[in-house]
């Protein structure tokens, strides 16, 4: 099978001794290319930890994680940086755009790191701005954009380099209902039209409604895995 993500018996503990907390407990999940999946569960269930582990932002205490066939636990810091750059797109709850760069420059940044030529970068920036509905706003700095617009820039940044997977950590949490719904529609379209794989961590019903797979986490364990 063509798995984008595969985890095997992943454990993640925080702290030592009596204060040791199990954030993930024996999690084995496979996510296929083109999925629009949501990791759901109450606060503290391990959703964000799961995304951080599969995004290479944290290391598991034990277990294995493959991303696009590569075992990310065996990578050095530099290899992991390059891997994230080339294979993963991130969308964060609080947008996390670079405040001194314009929307276009924020979107362009990852491609610049990849060494994509100027012309190709600019063409791609125009394309993704259009896809997320931000034509004409490319020269604005994040502070000059609304929350919804900033999150659209974050989506555009995540998808601009055409990564294997986009990991979105509660992307609608800071947005009002209508803006969140509109943004989700954009992401769903990208998934359907371009086959882009999305994995969300969320407890937003709108995402759950649109997702084609829901992975329920509870106390760090996979409680239920349902495909619609």
């Amino acid at each position: 099978m063509n798995y984008v993500i595969e985890t095997q018996h992943v454990h993640r503990f925080f702290g030592e001794g009596e204060v040791r907390v199990s954030a993930l407990n024996d999690v084995s999940i496979r996510i296929e290319r083109g999925e629009f999946s949501a990791i759901i569960g109450p606060s503290g269930s391990g959703k964000t930890t799961f995304l951080q582990l599969v995004g290479g932002l944290d290391n598991p205490t034990s277990g294995r994680i493959w991303l696009s066939g590569a075992n990310i636990a065996e990578m050095t810091g530099r290899e992991l940086s390059d891997f994230r750059r080339d294979h993963i797109g991130f969308i964060f709850q609080s947008y996390n755009l670079i405040p001194v760069l314009s929307a276009e420059e924020n979107i362009e940044y990852v491609m610049l790191l990849q060494g994509v030529s100027v012309n190709k970068r600019h063409k791609r920036v125009r394309e993704v701005l259009s896809l997320v509905g931000l034509e004409g706003l490319g020269d604005r700095r994040p502070a000059q954009l609304s929350g919804g617009q900033q999150q659209r820039v974050a989506v555009a940044r995540a998808m601009a380099s055409s990564p294997d997977i986009i990991l979105a950590d509660e992307p609608t949490a800071n947005l009002d209902s209508a803006t969140g719904a509109a943004l989700l529609d954009v992401m769903r379209e990208l998934n359907e039209d371009q086959g882009m794989t999305f994995v969300f961590s969320t407890h937003d019903q709108k995402i759950m409604d649109r997702a084609n797979r829901l992975i329920h986490l509870h106390d760090g364990k996979v409680e239920q895995d349902e495909t619609k």
């Binding site: 951080q52 995004g55 932002l57 944290d58 810091g77 530099r78 940086s81 390059d82 994230r84 750059r85 080339d86 991130f90 964060f92 996390n96 670079i98 405040p99 001194v100 760069l101 420059e105 362009e108 940044y109 990852v110 610049l112 790191l113 990849q114 940044r157």
Partner: protein
């Protein structure tokens, strides 16, 4: 992109960047000022000292400089003068002979130093002619009395109670053991009470040679180099050439001849460099504070940059470029301020309320020195320290884990 990011990050906190920039500019201008004045003062002191009587280089027979004896002469002056004249790095030279003597006039006596000088060459190699206070420097005109001419220091003039036109008797010992004594006419009083010449009697070289029974021989050659800063290397070159002549002569730069003056000057110079270092240290603390604050404030941002694919060394580079950019802009602004200041220091200087008498030469002002070194050295030091203070915050920024960084605010 990194340059763009760096520039925008500098402009992000305009007030803080401005204050840091001004502290770098201030530090640079102060350093240039201090460096220029220090160098200028020492250049003037060295120029004064060497032009007064020491010269940049001296040539003696064997160990004459350490243990002077009347018979330790340079016996082949023509050969040495030919060698000196063939060296383009030597501006001028003057031969001298020395001897102690007893001087008396009327009923007064005084112990004096006799120095025989070539009137023409000596006036080019030292300031002796400028220091004639009364009377006339040695010329070709014979005296009215028909006696040989001498110039005396102020101290002798006072102790023997004589002036221009009076007669003076000198008694010494000739190189051949004979008693040397003769009557001379004073044609000039030179220097001041504090000057080197206070107890000196100057005789024209030929007169002194005959008086001391060392015809056609000298004790010392004083050389002025075209570039005083190259005295040591020039002295070494001359020594090698003289050694080829199999002559037992010693060539010494002024740093050796006047080693105590040179050492005390160097010690004083190092004291000034220490003050310079304190100025730069204070500037660097300011830069460190700014860089550190800027890094701490942007921890989350660095985490995001690393998360989306920036390599840790990209983050280090960005912080480094920011510091270098701010330093360069500040130094360029400092340069705009430093140029008129340097022009003032070199052309006008600080007028002293009371002139300083240094061995009969009066210093009326303190002047700075201008050279590439005066500007480049402080700039390089500030750049060097700016690089240094970037290391700690830079390492901190590039070693943070994105997960931890993104959870900070």
């Amino acid at each position: 992109m990194l340059l763009k990011l760096a520039l925008r990050n500098i402009l992000r906190q305009k007030r803080r960047s401005l204050l840091t920039g001004l502290s770098i500019t201030g530090g640079f201008v102060l350093s240039v000022f201090s460096f220029s004045l220090t160098e200028g003062t020492y250049e003037n002191a060295i120029d004064f000292f060497t032009r007064d009587h020491t010269g940049h280089i001296q040539i003696h027979s064997g160990d004459y400089h350490e243990k002077p004896k009347i018979y330790k002469t340079i016996s082949q002056p023509d050969t040495i003068e030919a060698l000196i004249e063939n060296e383009s790095r030597i501006k001028t030279f003057a031969p001298r002979i020395f001897a102690p003597a007893l001087a008396y006039a009327g009923s007064e006596t005084s112990v004096v130093s006799v120095i025989g000088v070539d009137p023409l060459l000596e006036s080019k190699a030292s300031r002796i002619e400028e220091k004639v206070g009364s009377g006339i420097y040695f010329d070709q005109e014979p005296t009215g009395s028909g006696l040989a001419k001498v110039m005396i220091g102020v101290g002798i003039s006072v102790s023997l109670d004589i002036g221009v036109g009076d007669e003076i008797v000198l008694i010494s010992q000739g190189a051949n053991g004979s008693i040397a004594n003769d009557l001379f006419e004073v044609v000039a009083i030179v220097g001041t009470k504090s000057s080197f010449e206070n107890e000196v009697v100057y005789l024209p070289l030929e007169v002194a040679q005959n008086f001391l029974s060392i015809p056609n021989e000298v004790h010392e050659y004083v050389l002025l180099a075209t570039d005083a800063s190259k005295s040591i290397s020039l002295a070494n070159t001359l020594q090698k050439r003289i050694d080829l002549l199999n002559a037992d002569l010693t060539v010494s730069p002024w740093q050796v001849v006047e080693s105590s003056f040179y050492k005390s000057m160097r010690a004083d110079q190092q004291g000034n460099y220490f003050i310079l270092a304190i100025i730069i240290f204070l500037v660097c603390i300011g830069v460190l504070n700014t860089v550190l604050m800027s890094v701490l404030e942007r921890t989350r941002e660095f985490g995001v940059l690393i998360a989306i694919g920036s390599r840790p060394n990209d983050i280090f580079k960005m912080i480094f470029i920011e510091t270098m950019l701010l330093t360069t802009l500040s130094i360029l602004f400092g340069l705009i301020l430093a140029v008129p200041m340097l022009i003032f220091l070199t052309q006008i200087g600080f007028i002293l309320p009371e002139p300083i008498d240094m061995g009969g030469v009066h210093f009326h002002d303190l002047r700075g020195s201008v050279s590439v070194t005066v500007v480049v050295v402080p700039a390089l030091i500030i750049y060097g320290f700016a690089c240094l203070v970037t290391i700690i915050p830079g390492l901190r920024a590039c070693t943070i884990t994105p997960k931890v960084a993104m959870s900070s605010y």
